[in-house]
Symmetry: C2
Subunit: 475 residues, 2 copies
């Protein structure tokens, strides 16, 4: 007898899980399609060469590698030579490969979305799995800040459709916005040398987790001066102190919307004072203002966050992240990466993207009861059928299947009880699996063109003309 | 510069490909849901132990194995000890694992569908890839032939919805039906010993490919008597001679439907004469009659095919396969497998399933122009947007995004040209990517509440009130 559990960190999705996931994915697709983003799919398996050197040391460790096949393995050199393929690690590197490979077939401005699983051999934890879905949207080929604005707008629309809203009892979301060159300017102006920027950002990225004192220790441990940290922490703590205030939406009937426009103006001014002599920093601030300016005041929940670092890998411009409160990490993020596609092709092609983490979204929606409304409204159905048909006689099987076909034609989801049995068993089964109606076929009734219809909620049953069954169920 | 091709035997799906695939998958899902089948998803990666010993020697060779991680590999023993995980090889073994693992959470009769990729390191060929989708539907927990009938009925409905139909110019499909115990009876009655059945079936399975003479040689090569083959080939060739006649649907205005009911009666009688003394064989024939009896005459394209062998692995009862003509292999198949789930659990649980091969269906539909109708009817959209908006002035960007939002609210798919440019460029781009309308925003028109709408098909352009844009496009 073999083990029956899925592999470590992987999950089976039973029907109710799949339906919830598909409900969320459906909304994500619908919104992206309405913005003119087009679907792309790439293989789960990539040449090892395509992936190596793109994700840093961590990526090399966490990647699932595939054993070579069809030849005698050369184990004499240890791990080298054992593997030529690996599982997809994210959706951005495959996109860059695709853009380079099909440059002549794709439009100049290629807007794509991609919703597929990726695999990382990470230590499993709450909301962290070894197989998880990314929902990526990227716009290739344009330098315009309209791209950033559209990505933020599309993601905001998705979150609002999922009921992340400024309403009592609901979960507000905020899109944090920063720019890699603003970070660079701040570090430059704090006297941190360029070769130490990655060290400094790695430390600053932990601000949420380990606090100001923790980051200060990290600075020293990484060979950075305590003094350089003072001016940064001064700026960040002043700007950051109101960060989570925007999430206090309780079940009071009145929702006070924190004025993000005012907050953003103040923060921009503060950063501008610090980087006023820094050309790149000033240009980056203008890009941030350009993005913000494309939304009306209070139209979007964007919060300028100069301390947002957003990983360290390939971003070159604006960066974003979705916050829904202190107790859970971000639901997604992204930014501009103008250098990645060039690693695969002759051309350097500008690009900007946003990635939603399906698993985190589902965890928050489950914990906060956010599926209740779509279930109540019938937009999300967790049950398997609208009606179950059962026949009491082997001779009626053909009639059962025929009636089932007729009801399906009328748009109902119809289950046929697979065995011939007396009344008790099918009704009990229908109760167990939660089907709202049972339709019973008996020889004598059928001769008169009738069937018995039982409402499982009210427990009432009545004799109904065969042609009226679908109407009865729908009403 | 890295290589930009996908890995060997794997494919990237550009937007038009994904849309076609999703159109077919959408119909498959819709029909399965209407039969009360519920969605299940399992991980791409399974414990090696779960998969080994389930697929025979070929499976062991073609499985993609994953290298162990996070520990020093022990290469001293060669390939052993290098791998603990493997990629999913089909959807049936994971289903059996899931049924055994969640027995108490799942209903007694569990009807599930599952549409996910599987991976096999096969030699790539036309319509054969190393990553491909299976669309499986299975009913667990019942011995009733109603299950077989429902599976055939659901699959037939899918093929009809995809326009595999008895109409001039269309591709007819036939569901071939046989029973593992009929095959066993025929072999027994031909004097082939039980231990040689697998050899005989392996040879007979090639009848389509290598013909009667080829199979005879195979028989001898596999140590079977030439004589034993004579009686089988006699039966099979009489029954099989009309097999492909049913596909001759030309573009004449009249379609003559081959009478499969008569054919099936004749074939059943012929087999019954041969196996009249064989208990199991007679029971199996009754099951076949029971399945056929659940469909009205000529209601379904079922063809009793006693020479259908359908692989050799886990089938125990009825087996089926979809035929659409000589020039391409089957589009899918399945059967009853009452022994597999017991390999994972304490209980032996009856099960029956049908698997559709997405790639084959797509190849046939593409080659035979079967996507043209859904495209013409607007059920399958290959373009990215209904309208593209372009602004001629940086100051109008906000207005572009606002109008885009309004049109999306009205159900349109709206692309915003991402750069500010004079008229020529955006219109040329819209022409390239095939957007049917372009909406141009100019300062002076907008002041009067108007925009310019250009119909890309007729090349006409007119000034339209902003609020009338969506109506104009929809009409």
């Amino acid at each position: 007898m073999s083990k029956t559990q899925p592999a470590r960190g992987m999950r089976d999705f039973l029907p109710a899980d799949v339906r919830k996931r598909n409900y969320v994915i459906g909304i994500i697709k619908e919104v992206y399609e309405s913005y003119g983003f087009e679907p792309l799919e790439t293989p789960a398996v990539e040449n090892l060469e395509t992936l190596t050197g793109k994700y840093g040391e961590e990526g090399n460790q966490l990647m699932f590698r595939i054993l070579k096949r069809g030849e005698k393995l050369d184990v004499s050199q240890g791990e080298k030579g054992l593997s030529d393929l690996a599982l997809r690690y994210d959706l951005t590197v495959p996109l860059a490969r695709v853009v380079a490979n099909y440059r002549n077939e794709l439009p100049k401005f290629f807007k794509r979305y991609q919703i597929q699983p990726v695999w990382r051999a990470d230590r499993p934890a709450r909301g962290r799995f070894r197989e998880f879905y990314q929902c990526d949207v990227d716009a290739i080929g344009s330098n315009s800040m309209m791209v950033e604005a559209e990505l933020i707008s599309a993601v905001s629309e998705i979150l609002e459709r999922l009921e992340f809203k400024d309403k009592p009892g609901y979960t507000r979301f905020v899109i944090r916005l920063n720019h890699r060159k603003i970070l660079k300017a701040i570090l430059d102006e704090s006297g941190i040398k360029e070769f130490q920027h990655i060290e400094a950002l790695t430390a600053l990225d932990k601000l949420d987790k380990i606090g100001v004192e923790g980051v200060k220790k990290e600075f020293v441990a990484r060979g950075l001066s305590e003094q350089s940290f003072e001016s940064i922490s001064d700026l960040f703590s002043r700007i950051d102190k109101r960060r989570f205030e925007v999430f206090h939406i309780t079940d009071s009937s009145h929702v006070k919307r924190t004025d993000l426009s005012g907050w953003n103006r103040d923060s921009i001014n503060e950063v501008r004072r610090m980087v006023s002599e820094h050309t790149e920093g000033n240009e980056a601030l203008k890009e941030i203002e350009s993005i913000l300016g494309k939304f009306g005041e209070n139209q979007c929940n964007i919060q300028f966050s100069p301390n947002l670092a957003r990983g360290l890998s390939y971003y070159t411009g604006a960066i974003f992240e979705i916050d829904v409160g202190k107790e859970i990490g971000s639901l997604g993020g992204g930014g501009r990466y103008d250098g990645l596609i060039g690693m695969f092709g002759k051309e350097q092609i500008p690009a900007c993207g946003f990635s939603l983490g399906l698993e985190r979204i589902l965890v928050v929606m489950d914990e906060r009861g956010m599926f209740e409304k779509p279930i109540a409204e019938g937009k999300l159905k967790l049950d398997s059928a609208d009606v179950m048909i059962a026949g009491f006689d082997e001779a009626l099987v053909g009639e059962c299947l025929k009636l089932a076909g007729e009801l399906r034609q009328k748009g109902l989801r119809v289950l046929v009880y697979p065995e011939i049995s007396q009344k008790g068993k099918p009704v009990k089964y229908a109760e167990q699996i939660g089907v709202p109606f049972v339709c019973l076929l008996k020889e004598n009734e059928l001769a008169a063109g009738n069937v018995t219809l039982k409402n499982m909620q009210t427990n009432e049953q009545e004799t109904v003309a065969r042609e009226d069954v679908s109407e009865k169920i729908k009403s």
